[in-house]
Symmetry: C2
């Protein structure tokens, strides 16, 4: 779990060693998790699904949009790429079992960067007992990582976005606002709390809280990738309910509040609209005993009849700032 | 299964409708296969795996390297992207159950192209009873499609690349050389047999032959994506055997032979080294009754002790031309 420094060894490029060289040098050195019956090197991987079902999620990360090589090492990008997919598995109430990784890379990508990426993917996957079971490597003008995570529900019903009921409480587990804070510091080239920079480079989703919430009876759940307000909007939409949040209920760390002040930013903007922390948000029946680590921050109500009523409000009002992040750049 | 003409309707771009617009307009309109328990729109898909295991394979297709928009419609690219992944599932002896699709696209990509892509993916998946169960869409400077196929072994042992034995026969099912022929015609802007152009744009893997070969007792199998010689090299490598092919045993269509002559190309070059047909090649014990559609073209022998002995030969000799295709351009 130590973090290799980037580009330290005598370095080949992907163009020099070729596709099969990459597969042999990197993919096959990975230690496989217990669920992987056939790992890299064949036409396909074979993964155990004791539950008779498999949870599966895909995300793409594009250089310049989802990561920057001058801000993050290959190792950090690997951890982030694995984390955001494994968080999707946790958000269904499942536990990750395997990753499939597609790497599109320019021929001049240093082999050490690809190895660091692989180490980051492997270390993050190992946190839930998973491993990289297969993938593909192609040449490309841009650097892009496509990760598919597979996982197991351990016999439980999936927790979707569609099950929230009026009267439910809204809670979250994990961190909110730290990734947005880290991004702001990097954009301003400012010094700030180490956790903010670290979380932006590699989020730390609370994986175990997904199954814990499912066991506790969560009615709806998702992971926070586009900002809490935007993502709760998906639950409100899919469940045909409204959600109101209490801004005073968020346990905001002094360091985060202080850094927001220095940046001239409303700290709740980071907490409510910052993406990429990969915290989990869920709704629970009001009488449920929440697992440790969950913070109640709102309540589910009937959706108003009037069209254009906001689905998610803060103290009864729409939040002023832009509620999320649209990857094609529309506001 | 009709092929929509590209760009025919009044057309938005992806940048105009945004990421969520795309997901809602395209992904959710897809009819789901019987194995998909939760389709697009949640954190992850949920797919039935009655076998207690899942076969999983990922491939990336990059515009300009794996397809060209002036040569292929979105529909054809969708069929090809699905086909090459579902062929990997068949090559393990399995049947595809679901696809996850990542689309990285420039903001000016016409919505109609994305819809055509989606229709092609859906139609190809439907050939094996599968469907597109989920995915991701991101903005990107280039157009790239990342497909992950999931599949079911129906209780059988997987057929890997590592099980061939000396004395086994080598056979293939499907088509060889047609995709290479089509590529040559497109590169030369030449007229030629329609099947060649069609196969290069969208291969037609013999999906049902994968499970059929597994049931018949195939000892090793893979799909031909890099050329028969190169791909049989993987079986020889993984199984620690040698393979010799009989060039007279290949049933070469007159149309293919005639087109090769017009192009001044050795037709066996297309058949032995042409990639992307996604035929299946397999080894079988010598006494096996082959399923209909398999052609015996060679034999497995002990690997010679001497280093540098070629793993795959044709009539006992190495084939002169370059045996395959390395995606980073090394010869």
């Amino acid at each position: 779990m130590t973090e290799p420094s980037p580009g330290s060894t005598s370095d080949y490029t992907l163009g020099q060693i070729g596709e099969f060289g990459l597969i042999n040098r990197v993919a096959r050195t990975v230690r496989q998790g217990h669920a992987v019956l056939i790992g890299p090197g064949d036409d396909a991987a074979l993964v155990s699904t004791p539950d008779g079902r498999v949870v599966a999620s895909t995300d793409l990360l594009v250089e310049g949009r989802h990561f920057r090589r001058d801000w993050s090492t290959g190792y950090q990008v690997g951890r982030k790429a694995a984390a955001q997919n494994l968080a999707d598995i946790a958000a269904m109430g499942g536990v990750g079992s395997a990753l499939l990784v597609g790497l599109a890379a320019p021929a001049d990508l240093p082999l050490s960067w690809a190895k660091d990426l692989s180490a980051g993917l492997a270390d993050e996957a190992a946190l839930v007992g998973a491993s990289v079971a297969g993938g593909d490597t192609v040449g490309s003008e841009i650097l892009l990582i496509a990760v598919t995570a597979l996982g197991d529900l351990q016999g439980r019903a999936p927790v979707t976005r569609a099950g929230a009921h009026p009267g439910d409480i809204v809670a979250y587990a994990g961190e909110l606002g730290w990734s947005a804070c880290g991004l702001e510091l990097l954009l301003r080239d400012m010094d700030g709390p180490k956790p903010a920079l670290a979380r932006h480079r590699s989020p730390e989703p609370p994986y175990e809280q997904g199954p814990a919430a499912a066991r506790a009876g969560a009615t709806a759940m998702l992971d926070i990738s586009d900002g809490l307000l935007a993502d709760l909007g998906h639950i409100a939409e899919e469940s045909s309910v409204a959600i109101d949040l209490d801004p005073a209920a968020f346990p905001i760390e002094d360091q985060l509040r202080e850094t927001a002040r220095k940046c001239g930013v409303e700290v709740l903007d980071w907490v409510l609209t910052g993406g990429e922390d990969h915290a989990l948000a869920a709704c629970f029946p009001p009488d449920v005993e929440l697992p440790p680590g969950w913070h109640v921050v709102g309540r589910v109500s009937e959706r108003a009849e009037a069209p254009d009523t906001p689905l998610v409000t803060v103290s009864g009002h729409p939040w002023g700032a832009t509620p999320g992040w649209d990857h094609f750049g529309r506001s």
